[in-house]
Symmetry: C2
Subunit: 209 residues, 2 copies
DNA sequence: AACAATACCGACCGTATGGTATGTGTCAAT
DNA sequence: ATTGACACATACCATACGGTCGGTATTGTT
């Protein structure tokens, strides 16, 4: 029997399938515990394909972080939380949106780059740099709304829009850790509730939820 | 030359030295990326000693989490934040204390069990269970003060002391992730500031910091 | 002193891992 | 029709890894 190469899954998408596999498996097992063979098996490709697209495993990590930035960036920019006219309402809608997508299996709602950051955070580590860009890049998208809300509500505070934007991401990341520890997504939502209450209090609303 | 076994470091402390090495190295590289040889080298012991004290590498992970609970538990129970008479002041003093010990190299102030949780959070994983016990056990030590403060300040809220205690730990864990991503401890302190402001607002104080 | 238990050493083993070298099928341009 | 670039596949390699094993000091007990 002559060779029957694997071309049932469309040819040319091995790279994407590897990145999707990385996104899911690394969120379950972490970067170091995820082997190249794991990724190839899950993506349905061979090692040759892997190292054709990525020079090293580390290069895949960097690419996975970039892939994460792109896909989640598209998700967020298309989401409806940008609709309200009041910038504070947009912020609260963002947080509600983040809360609403927490559920199902842990690896389905937690953050890839947050997970990888925990493992590889030596200074000047390329994966860490890619993760940092993803996290802080996303945080930066919140700043305009926060600044606008501060102006509109006449807030003169000892905190900055930048710091609050980063804090929202810190709460999200920490919420994921507690949810992972307990194996319970509800714990993540619980912290999101506290964050939403905090933002309301900051802008002078009483803590009605 | 006859054999000259390693007995300059006092005999009998190999286990402790391995746990200390695990505490430091796992916080730098993560659990999976930390090899048994790494630990032995850092602790100045041999593999024989390692597997004499720990049946498997996973068993060391569990023991390291327990060791972490014990040592940090002793640190916290001896700390001076318990002194104030007003329970709210004790809570704020706790958060200030947590803030004050953030500094230096990343691996010196971040949380071992938070780091390990990110990697091994399959259900029924013994390391994850040990990490969860450490995190939620510590959170539980805050509940009495929060409950007392709620009573004293006449707070009837839609949140519980338990959930706020957990939220403080979520913020801490998330603050560590951002600090790791940026390689900057200041980012962790920044989130702690927001958390302190939140607690003040919750208990009716204005956000003076 | 004899003995047993404990703590530790260091060589060794099987396997899994990241990575390489080479080959093969596909497609587009010439 | 030929060529060359690309996207894979297959077989293979060197090493690093977790773990084992037989042995040797040291300590406590009787």
């Amino acid at each position: 029997m002559a060779r029957k190469p694997n071309q049932s899954p469309e040819r040319g998408d091995a790279r994407t399938r590897l990145l999707e596999a990385a996104r899911d498996i690394i969120r379950q097992k972490g970067f170091a515990a995820t082997s190249v063979d794991d990724l190839c098996r899950s993506a349905g490709v061979t090692k040759g394909a892997f190292f054709h697209h990525f020079k090293t495993k580390e290069a895949l990590g960097v690419a996975a972080a970039a892939f994460w930035s792109q896909t989640t960036g598209a998700l967020f920019s298309a989401a409806s939380y940008h609709a309200p006219e009041d910038p504070l309402e947009r912020i609260l809608a963002y947080l509600e949106f983040r809360r609403s997508i927490i559920g199902g299996e842990t690896f389905e709602y937690t953050c890839l780059v947050g997970t990888m950051t925990q493992e590889v955070h030596a200074t000047a580590h390329p994966i860490r740099d890619a993760c940092a860009e993803s996290i802080f890049g996303h945080a930066a998208t919140l700043e305009p709304d926060i600044s606008a809300a501060m102006r509109l509500h006449g807030i003169t505070a000892d905190w900055t829009a930048e710091s609050l934007a980063r804090h929202t991401q810190a709460v999200l990341q920490g919420a994921f850790i507690l949810a992972k520890a307990a194996g319970n997504a509800e714990l993540a939502r619980e912290s999101l509730d506290h964050l939403i209450r905090y933002v309301r209090l900051l802008f002078g609303q009483t803590a009605a939820l």
